[in-house]
């Protein structure tokens, strides 16, 4: 067999890349489970099993090599990211439905890894959020806010036995609370110090949420430093989000939350380092990645403030996914020797 040059290659591989992204998620997941209960781990497991089953099924139908594709880790990664976006005590079928949809409709329907125009995890999440708004917005409060935190077995029974009330442990997220209170005409300061609502807000962006965001930030920095993700997308996304937040916050601090709350609240860090950076559906040119990141930051901010949802990362990512091919086309780098632009 004659092979073409180069006759050397790095030991790098897709599965190794996915594995390291997985490693980078560990601090965030651990913090999440620590502060909000082990339900998230159950959902990660559920989503992974569903995603692998769905992927294997399609590969079988398409008569494609199964082992190498399943081993690339991309399906599990999508599943984990989706599970992290689902409320930790949501019923089991939510995750199964979402993960199945993400793999079947978000990925394999387009031809599998590398061919999907949308981020599969976010597509699954968006489908769930639109179809099952009740289940998808019932978030538990952080354990520190509860008189009695649910144990692992409590979580499992809550997830698998539908109909069990979880009212005792659910609470609106800080971003959600802020939105509701602003709609009621309550200013930000009053919300943050209110007797009922105030306890949700910690030092920066909400009890529990800020810690999770910091943990994801650490994982993201690991990926950045090991050059497994490009710096342009997270920096542009967080930068534009922070810039807009600062601008509006300075204009009207009672109406617009501080940039810190935006950066460390909701799914900001998870979105910036792990979701928006999905290479398949993101822009690939250096300038394109900056535009892509800015787009996500701007849309997220717009949805958070003026849209119908408390957080907007998923929709922002999906909207920018649509623009990626066009952005890529118009942001080609000037070739070497191509003269000054």
């Amino acid at each position: 067999m004659t092979t073409s040059s180069p006759h050397l290659s790095t030991p790098n591989s897709v599965s190794r890349l996915m594995l390291h992204v997985g490693y980078a998620l560990i601090p965030g997941i651990a913090t999440y489970a620590w502060l909000f209960g082990a339900g998230v781990l159950v959902h990660i497991l559920l989503a992974s099993v569903t995603a692998m089953t769905a992927e294997a099924l399609v590969l079988m139908l398409r008569r494609r090599p199964m082992a190498s594709t399943l081993a690339d880790g991309s399906a599990i990664l999508s599943a984990v990211l989706l599970a992290l976006a689902i409320p930790p005590l949501a019923p089991w079928w939510i995750t199964v439905l979402g993960a199945g949809f993400a793999i079947l409709f978000g990925k394999q329907l387009y031809g599998g890894i590398g061919y999907n125009p949308f981020n599969p995890a976010m597509l699954g999440y968006a489908m769930l959020l639109i179809s099952f708004p009740l289940e998808m917005t019932r978030w538990p409060a952080a354990h520190s806010l509860l008189t009695q935190a649910p144990s692992l077995s409590d979580s499992v029974s809550l997830i698998f036995a539908s109909g069990v009330s979880m009212d005792a442990i659910s609470a609106a997220t800080p971003l959600d609370t802020l939105k509701t209170q602003l709609a009621l005409g309550v200013g930000i300061d009053a919300t943050r110090t209110g007797a009922e609502t105030g306890k949700l807000f910690g030092q920066i962006a909400g009890v529990g949420w800020e810690a999770i965001n910091i943990a994801f930030l650490l994982g993201g920095l690991y990926l950045l430093l090991t050059r497994r993700i490009a710096w342009q997308i997270p920096l542009a996304m967080l930068g534009s989000l922070a810039l807009l937040a600062t601008l509006f916050h300075l204009l009207d601090p009672q109406q617009y939350a501080s940039p810190l709350l935006h950066l460390f609240g909701g799914a900001a860090m998870l979105g910036a380092f792990f979701i928006a950076t999905d290479p398949v559906s993101a822009c690939t040119t250096p300038r394109g990645r900056i535009l892509f990141g800015i787009g996500i930051g701007v849309i997220t901010y717009a949805i958070r403030n003026w849209g119908g949802y408390p957080d907007g990362i998923a929709f922002a990512v999906l909207l920018m996914n649509m623009t990626a091919p066009t952005i890529d086309y118009f942001t080609q780098p000037r070739v070497f020797g191509g003269g000054k632009p």
Partner: protein, 551 residues
């Protein structure tokens, strides 16, 4: 004046590769043994293949021209030693296609008898054109691996040459032939450069050497006389620093235009090996007969550099470094990044053979299967041409050749950086070569069909023209038959029409005469007339009956 400058410009992309050079550069260059026969391909360079000018059975002397260049972009081939031509036929040659090609085979007589030749002691007495002719006649082509006829690059035409660059970067891992040449023949390189400088009237001279070649750098510095204007530049070791465009940028900060030549920015770039060959051609009158080649890799027990006559079979060289044919799993000519696999080790060493990389069978690994592209963009990060390899791949795979060109396929230098880093192990360069070949083929097909269409259009045009000409000719003849000032109605003034009229009249008269009764029925008697009338009446009645048989 200092021989060193520190200012360099970092070209985009590129890779840090493990160099593996120390395994082959610890021994001096030695001459390879004289083989029993030499097989000299007629095409050892870019451009038209040379044309054989000897016949089977001819005795040849060392340095004798045995094939002449065909056209401007071509180079002659010389007999590397004395002997007899035994065959002119197709033989295995080192080419990526693995196909055979026309070669001249010489049976070596071992006498090493030179053809009469003489050098020129002072190259300054020769003008640029004389130098170029000598270099052309010596069959010198770029020894860096591309094999472009060198004399062409010494002909700047009307362009002014600001800078002459010598390429001593040698950025491919494993290869050390230029390194060893610089260490051992620094003086020849410097003198060769001076000859080139004289031919080009270049203002500045720069030699770029990667900073991992400390000894070569020292040797060149020593060879440079005091107060010389040739500058040695240490450049960072980063693949592909030895790419012509990359080296020129590193040394001058100027980018060779995307579809242009170094000359467009006043630069000419030659390999150090070419400089040494030019020195030998001009000063000693020796044509290009041999080169230094690196024999290295895990399949070779004694890696080293050999000075090898062109035409020596690769398998013989491998034997000389004690490599066992059965141990070699893969034989590559060139470096691991840009070289190609040799399928038949009987292929000869040619002018562009800089390295033979033999991989031991046990080190042979099945390349990992290609997975789908995940658009990670690592390839774009390392691309020295600032391309988007992932997009090129996408469109090459889809055979969208217009789109591939939108993404500047032809700026790809095939350095292999993108394939090297691809986590999906996609043989990207292979796709680009495929796309380029397809586009060239389409271009050729288009030219062919254009020519055919043109021929067809010309034919139609010619037929139409001939028709028109015929018409005009007839019209002119008709015009010529008309007397001057004649008009259509006036018969008397038109001799032709008058003649026609006369002829018509004559015919009319003749016709009238034919109605006259036959002479033998003139002057009949009444009885005779009656008899005739009766016969006529009977005939008429019978005729009538014939026409109405049913009544």
């Amino acid at each position: 004046m200092s021989h060193e400058t520190t200012k360099t410009w970092a070209f985009p992309g590129g890779l840090h590769l493990d160099d593996h050079k120390s395994i082959s550069n610890t021994h001096h260059v030695t001459r390879a043994e004289l083989p029993r026969q030499l097989v000299l391909p007629l095409s050892q360079h870019i451009g038209n293949a040379a044309i054989a000018c000897v016949a089977v059975g001819d005795p040849v002397l060392k340095g004798q021209r045995i094939a002449k260049g065909d056209g401007y972009v071509s180079a002659p081939v010389h007999a590397p030693t004395s002997g007899t031509v035994t065959a002119i036929d197709e033989q295995p040659v080192p080419h990526p296609s693995g196909l055979h090609a026309p070669c001249i085979t010489i049976r070596v007589d071992g006498k090493e008898e030179w053809i009469e030749h003489s050098g020129c002691e002072d190259y300054r007495t020769l003008d640029a054109s004389e130098l170029r002719n000598k270099i052309r006649e010596a069959g010198i082509v770029g020894l860096g691996g591309a094999g472009f006829p060198s004399y062409i690059k010494l002909n700047p035409g009307t362009s002014a040459v600001e800078t002459l660059v010598l390429n001593g970067a040698e950025c491919e891992p494993y290869i050390t032939c230029d390194d060893m040449l610089m260490r051992e023949r620094a003086g020849e390189i410097i003198q060769g450069m001076r000859i080139m400088q004289h031919a080009l009237q270049a203002r500045h001279c720069l030699i770029g050497i990667e900073d991992n070649k400390i000894e070569a750098f020292a040797a060149l510095r020593e060879a440079l006389a005091e107060n010389d204007d040739i500058q040695l530049v240490r450049i960072p070791t980063r693949y592909p620093a030895g790419g012509e465009k990359q080296l020129i940028y590193t040394l001058t900060g100027k980018q060779v235009p995307s579809h242009g030549l170094p000359l467009d920015i006043g630069v000419v770039c030659h390999n150090v090996g070419t400089a040494a060959a030019i020195y030998r051609a001009i000063v000693h009158g020796e044509p290009l007969l041999s080169r230094i080649i690196t024999l290295t890799g895990s399949g070779i027990p004694q890696p080293r550099n050999l000075d090898v006559l062109f035409g020596t079979a690769m398998c013989e060289l491998l034997e000389q470094v004690h490599a066992k044919a059965g141990d070699i799993g893969k034989l590559i000519m060139g470096g691991p990044m840009m070289g190609f696999e040799i399928t038949d080790s009987h292929a000869p060493v040619i002018k562009t053979s800089n390295c033979l990389l033999a991989e031991h069978r046990r080190d042979l690994v099945q390349p990992p299967a290609a997975m789908p592209c995940i658009r990670c963009g690592d390839c774009a990060t390392v691309c020295p041409a600032l391309l988007l390899p992932q997009q090129l791949f996408w469109y090459a795979q889809a055979r969208e050749f217009d789109r591939v060109q939108d993404y500047h396929l032809f700026d790809c230098i095939e350095c292999g950086c993108c394939s090297y880093v691809c986590p999906s192990h996609i043989p990207l360069v292979q796709y680009y070569r495929f796309a380029k070949t397809e586009i060239w083929q389409q271009e050729r097909d288009k030219q062919k069909s254009d020519a055919a269409r043109q021929r067809h259009e010309f034919r139609l045009e010619r037929l139409e023209r001939e028709k028109q000409e015929k018409k005009q000719r007839h019209a002119r003849k008709a015009e010529a038959l008309k007397p001057a000032g004649a008009d259509k109605g006036d018969i008397k003034n038109d001799p032709k029409k008058a003649a026609i009229m006369a002829a018509l009249e004559r015919a009319q008269q003749k016709k009238q005469q034919s109605h006259i009764q036959p002479k033998n029925v003139d002057h009949l008697t009444e009885a005779q007339q009656r008899e005739i009338d009766e016969v006529n009446a009977r005939r008429a009645a019978a005729h009538k009956q014939d026409q109405e048989p049913s009544s």
